[in-house]
Symmetry: C2
Subunit: 622 residues, 2 copies
């Protein structure tokens, strides 16, 4: 950190242009650190500045912007995170993907707050970033390899077994629209970020470093960490996500009848208990796995030991995978979910988009819109998990019927027509997270308006608040817009500094973030300022899509959720009242109700005058 | 090396008793180092001394004896080898398995010439040997895991990414009779050595060390290595095994019509060129991989990129796998061979035994001895590679019809009866290596008499000499016994010091072994002495089985090879003249012709008086 005014930061960005094969360091802007902190905020600001409306996601002018945050590398539990920003080839709009593991941590120790990759290599390459030195290296020897082995072989190639390697599998190489990027067995999964890597001929990024960031007030920081530890100790054992990770959420959503089943035809899956984590974990779980320094330790290592899927292993499945490869396709075979999860992780695809694309295909099959002659003989019946597993392989390699499915839900629906859009369960081109807004009303706001599309990130904790807490009423609409906005802005801070959202249940009511950030960076941070930064980033992400012409009309859930009443269960008869909830939400956010775009006043009040100015110049401001 | 008289050695054995959980070091006997050098020789001597005729292979009193040799750890190309000795659960007799990779090398650097494991742990454990310190550690967190991931997770558990980990997969845990042990992606595959690990509840052995062995004459050794390097440089590029490894041998054996096809019904496979390494390597090969310090670099990394087996990866397949999962089952789909090889390596089973057991089942199916009602609906038709791949998974997990096949060829045949023994392609319970002795006569001697059963190790180089060299006549019988004996005794030295047999074509006519051993150890070694040690070990291995009552009657190839004439190709009309060749071989070896057991005179002349005495006491000496 050469002269950067704040602790915690490396004070530097690394820029790599794959076309010209040039590499250089650049100072981090201190004012951006103040305004956006890091992580999701810094990444959004960089993406807004560098990837304009004209950029084609799969062309060289798209960029990959990876950020960590000021707490990364400081030993703060949950801070081993990195966030990848790019323009999504799946949706054509804003994309960020948050991942844990060692990558973000190593990037900081190597001396960087962010890595920005532009251009396209003329042949397969990988990056090797080691303590401030960066090489662009030949990657033919791993081209075609799955994500686990790519990491293994690259670590051998650089002779640094402690490096973290983020990479694509065969799906990313083939620019599959739902291709993920994997580091360790953690995914940056959504929106086709892996396809952006593939389009740049970038197989992987290896990073290793040894320089811990300087802290502004080491004693104060030690004290803040101690306080944080007390919170962790008070949690039992360290929060709901210990043990099963997010898989535990299946209880919450099943209880309220909102577990999307058979492509969201209902929210009640018969036999759902067979895929409860307690069922499969008791048979197959052999260990847990944590990111560096994390007491939550959400990773659950499971290995199937019997039946046709014996040998399948995953560090998961997470809740979203129980949904996408379970309920959504009418499947209650936990072993098949584990096997499918493994295929997605090994070959590098997004379990959510893949499962929902298969679920959509199954409904088309049910309706006769697709037949065996289209599917290459596959019987796309509900719960046919053999076909699901086969299709996941086909998707990863973009072959046979899987080639069609690999486009994702929206493009499939566009191609098929016939009013299939009404049950294509996506928003803005991104398959929806697994919580039915008919059963949990606030969630729908998150999924309708989120900048990257039908995103579960903005929904998960709303769901938690709406179903778990005393007096919670998932079916109520009143107060939900405010709840949503507060959660988004409040929780956002975790993605900025960053701390894993799985720590939210532990620290949500305690002002540890300001304490940590003040002592680490030397900034004068308060809870109110944190909230403001959260709101600023929320608006900035919104502005990114607004600049491309996205408005309220795009904040639309599929007609199924608006018009088809939930057929059974606790939410029987419910639909999702879109206008009511969006009106309320825009109002709370200070966004123009007609267009859904932040007003100049709101943007100005958040210090985003330059953003407002640019939207105005393009005629995008209300 | 505390006071050990010879360089190159660590001078120590490590003993681990899993029942009592005790560990101790023991000095290496200098006289055994002189008489047996190391590797296969030292291992055979230890096994003879410690695992008697009464020992049940799957009970705690069986031992696992792993040796390296005096050149291991010295930087000699090809010396990164280790040899595992035990009594085989598959055959009930002598077993050794040779493997490359880092394990033997690390064992030496950790301070040991040998590791001897006895007893049985009361629950899953692994060993962690680090620079003379050994721990018996809990292995529940990897129990059930495949071999690749077990290595990954154990290296994390011990926080030593540079350790070498040798382990079993699910097959070994289930005591599958053809279970292998894997280190890196190298196998100790044959005879069910993995089941011995499983029976001891021993999931893995991790080893790491930093102490290079002392050399007797460092300057002389450097000179010897330089000479060796010149030989390597002269080879083009460094011998026939560079690039495709043993897979290249498919050309030799196909040329003479001895490529076992459809369970050895013929030696000519139609379409064999589709599984020539040139065919699949040109499409799928993405790199090579060498053991530490080895210029031959036989490992070829292949990844299937299209079709139903897309994503399959292996560092192979080696020749024996092209035979067992190719010709033997009538399969010319290279992708399926690669996928099958991957399954075997990941879950830890022997490709040879597995493929030949499947081939045997297929012939039983062809003959109506097995039907769909036996196979769980699998159609065991020749070339049905989908069924082959499915069966490999079933074998690894000992489930469904694969449970029956997992017993290996001999037990299947014993159970089925009906004269199936005549086409059960095994010797002494071990499935045969892939060279039809009807087409290459000398090979049959190797497979008939070898101590571990129908072994390809004693056959491969005979095949090479019989098919490759000017004037070679594979069908001739004259001179073959002498050729065989000379090759076995001459080549044996490589397994003792050890140097990988893939270096044989490079160094076979040059006296580099004595030069290397003299300067490394300080022993006074000559080529003649080397030959004598080779013969000594050959006799010792023979004596091991003789002590259990094995005689000439057990040196029998299946009737198919003795009575069914080769139906087509260059060897059309040929059978294997067993009596003629065995008579000749026993004579050359100085073994009693009636019993096939070494005479007292022969054993005494080789300094094996104590062995002779023991055989005599048990009434086993002719």
């Amino acid at each position: 950190m050469d002269g950067f005014p704040y602790g915690g930061y490396a004070g530097k960005l690394l820029r790599v242009d794959l076309t010209t094969r040039t590499v250089h360091d650049e100072p981090l802007r201190a004012d951006w650190a103040e305004s956006f902190l890091g992580g999701r905020g810094l990444g959004a600001r960089l993406l807004f500045a560098e990837v304009g409306p004209e950029v084609d996601p799969l062309r060289p002018d798209n960029k990959i912007i990876i950020t960590n945050g000021p707490l990364t590398g400081t030993g703060t539990p949950g801070s081993a995170r990195h966030i990848t920003h790019t323009k999504s080839p799946l949706t054509g709009i804003y994309l960020n993907c948050v991942s844990g593991g060692h990558f973000g941590h190593q990037l900081k120790l190597a001396g960087y707050d962010s890595l920005i990759i532009s251009g396209k290599a003329d042949r397969p390459v990988y990056l090797w970033i080691s303590d401030g030195k960066t090489e662009i290296k030949e990657a033919n020897f791993v081209w075609g390899m799955d994500c686990e082995r790519t990491q293994e072989f690259i670590k051998k190639d650089i002779d640094q077994p402690r490096a973290s390697v983020s990479c694509i599998g065969p799906a990313g190489e083939r620019k599959v629209m739902m291709a993920a990027v994997m580091n360790e067995r953690r995914a940056s999964a959504r929106g086709g970020v892996g396809a952006v890597f593939g389009a740049k001929n970038l197989k992987a990024i290896a990073v290793h470093g040894t320089s811990e960031p300087r802290l502004a007030d080491p004693d104060g920081f030690a004290k803040a960490l101690e306080d944080l530890k007390k919170l962790h100790d008070r949690a039992a054992p360290v929060g709901v996500f210990t043990g099963y990770g997010s898989a535990t959420l299946i209880h919450n959503i099943s209880k309220v009848g909102g577990f999307p089943t058979r492509n969201w035809q209902t929210g009640v899956l018969e036999g759902v208990e067979k895929i409860f984590p307690e069922s499969w974990a008791s048979k197959y779980r052999i260990g847990s796995k944590a990111c560096p320094g994390c007491p939550v330790s959400c990773g659950h290592v499971v290995v199937v030991t019997e039946g046709p899927y014996a040998g399948a292993m995953t560090e998961g499945p997470e809740y979203e995978t129980l949904y996408s490869l379970g309920g959504a396709v009418g499947n209650t075979c936990a072993e098949a979910i584990i096997a499918g999860d493994e295929i997605c992780d090994r070959f590098g695809i997004d379990t959510i988009e893949a499962g929902i694309a298969i679920a959509f295909a199954m409904e088309c099959y049910q309706r006769g819109i697709l037949t065996k002659s289209d599917t290459g003989g596959l019987e796309l019946t509900w719960g046919n998990h053999e076909v699901m597993v086969e299709l996941l392989k086909q998707i990863a390699f973009k072959r046979d019927f899987g080639g069609f499915v690999s486009q994702g839900v929206k493009r499939m629906s566009d191609e098929l027509g016939q009013n299939t859009a009404s049950f294509a369960m996506q928003v803005k081109g991104l398959a929806m997270g697994g919580y039915d807004p008919r059963a949990v009303k606030g969630i729908g706001i998150g999924m309708a308006h989120a900048a990257r599309g039908g995103c579960h990130h903005n929904a998960t904790y709303t769901m938690y608040e709406e179903t778990e807490f005393p007096g919670a009423n998932p079916l109520a609409t009143e107060g939900k817009p405010k709840l949503l906005a507060d959660l988004i802005h409040g929780r956002m801070s975790l993605d900025l500094i960053p701390i894993c959202i799985f720590h939210w249940p532990i620290i949500r009511h305690f002002p540890v973030q300001p304490q940590l950030i003040c002592s680490a960076t030397g900034m004068n941070m308060t809870a109110a300022k944190f909230y403001e930064i959260g709101e600023r980033v929320h608006n900035l992400e919104r502005a990114y899509n607004a600049r491309m012409g996205y408005t309220r009309k795009d904040d639309r859930l599929p007609d199924r959720l608006l018009k088809e009443a939930m057929p059974e269960g606790p939410a029987k008869g419910e639909t999702w009242p879109m206008d009511l909830l969006l009106d309320g939400f825009y109002e709370v956010c200070g966004w123009d109700k007609r267009s859904g775009v932040p007003t100049r006043q709101k943007l100005d009040s958040l210090g985003l005058e330059d953003i407002a100015e640019e939207l105005s110049r393009l005629g995008r401001l209300p």
